[in-house]
């Protein structure tokens, strides 16, 4: 009787162990399936974000603001100011395309139609709308203090203008507060340029006047080490900001969102130059 009981209990324990093993194995397989689904979803989201970022980067390079780093220190921004409308149209149509045909869970922020870039690690913002091009640095050694020069080159199909400094605070080139500013203009009757060392503690301003003494372009260097171009004509514009150790140039805002509702959401910036 006792032996029979013992056998029954032994078999019960054995079968319970088998059942427990089977359930554990089933749970493991289910969790494995869930984790691979999650990995796959994350992979798709990252790939979609990358595709949209790269599309935005290419449209910006072609029509908005072409950004390059020269000798890992100077940053060059060039644009054709007559392309602003086309740029905005292409951003809008690309946004429509990705939500209908490409990465359907991705979207582009509406402010992407405004051209802007952030220079890292100096936290210097460059923005451009028709009529205005601005370089804005933060006060401090690590931002405005890192700007050593500005080179502005303009090409337009108008008579070559003359320079008229309305505010001028110059310094010797050896002064640590001096910023070298070079402005060149290529017009229909030749090229002219002016190069000066300006005091970064004051606002200096130069106008480019046409033959009727009307300002076509006004360039201001304002505190702290900022640059503002105000213009009223279609032109090719190139601005080189003299810096050091540029690591990354990206969009100022997170322009790309991939949203799967409550499951997951990622936001990312567009990287124009890295490394």
């Amino acid at each position: 009787m006792k032996k029979g009981m013992m056998f029954s209990i032994s078999i019960f324990i054995l079968l319970s162990s088998l059942l427990y093993l089977a359930i554990s194995f089933s749970n493991y397989m289910t969790s494995l399936k869930q984790s691979t689904t999650t990995l796959s979803t994350v992979e798709t989201m990252v790939a979609d974000a990358d595709a949209v970022e790269y599309g935005l980067k290419r449209i910006t390079e072609q029509n908005g603001l072409n950004t390059t780093v020269i000798s890992s220190s100077n940053v060059s921004f060039s644009q054709n100011t007559s392309y602003f409308t086309r740029y905005a149209e292409q951003i809008t149509s690309f946004s429509s395309f990705i939500s209908n045909y490409g990465a359907k869970n991705a979207s582009i922020k509406s402010s992407a139609v405004n051209v802007s870039a952030l220079i890292n690690p100096h936290n210097i913002t460059v923005s451009s709308v028709y009529g205005n091009f601005t370089v804005l640095a933060l006060a401090g050694e690590n931002s405005s203090g890192k700007i050593t020069s500005y080179e502005v080159a303009i090409k337009a199909a108008v008579s070559t203008p003359r320079f008229n400094w309305t505010d001028y605070y110059g310094l010797p080139s050896s002064d640590p507060s001096a910023i070298r500013v070079r402005v060149a203009f290529q017009g229909s009757n030749g090229t002219t340029y002016d190069e000066r060392y300006l005091d970064r503690a004051y606002t200096s301003r130069v106008q480019l006047l046409n033959q009727q003494n009307k300002s076509m372009v006004t360039i201001s260097m304002f505190v702290p080490s900022g640059l503002w171009l105000n213009y009223s004509l279609d032109m090719y514009l190139n601005v080189i900001v003299g810096l050091n150790n540029v690591t990354k140039i990206e969009s100022r805002e997170e322009l790309v969102t991939v949203d799967l509702g409550e499951k997951a959401k990622i936001k990312s910036k567009v990287i124009f130059v890295e490394g």
Binding site: L14, K33, A47, A51, R58, F97, Y101
Partner: protein, 139 residues
Amino acid sequence: MGKGYVFTMDMVLSIVILTVFLISISFFLSRVDDPYSNVVLQKEADDALIVLDKYGDLSTLNSTVIANSLNSMLPRSVKWNMELNYYNYSSGFTLAGNNTFGSAYQQAREVVSVDRPFLTFENQSIANYCVARLRVWSG
């Protein structure tokens, strides 16, 4: 003698049960595909599309260029099929063309498919809005 017989039978029975259990698990595992293999395939396909796009191969829309790059990038054990659809935009998107090339995937047991939207440019304007669909599977 009787007791020994019962113990032997008990031991044989437990070995048989354990063997059946192990064979069942082994059989079940052999039937189930490695769930990570599809994730790895997806990663490989996504990476291949990123490289094709960023190196400018996709925007050529040239099947030979794209096929050569894919063959050099993907492992030999991976088979692929590429489908390109390109659209024009004029107040709406219209299909301008498509191109499918690579191995036939219809007979493949499990196919992983990834998409990537991309652009082609002409005179600094967008010429085509495109979607590349890359299907990959273990051959």
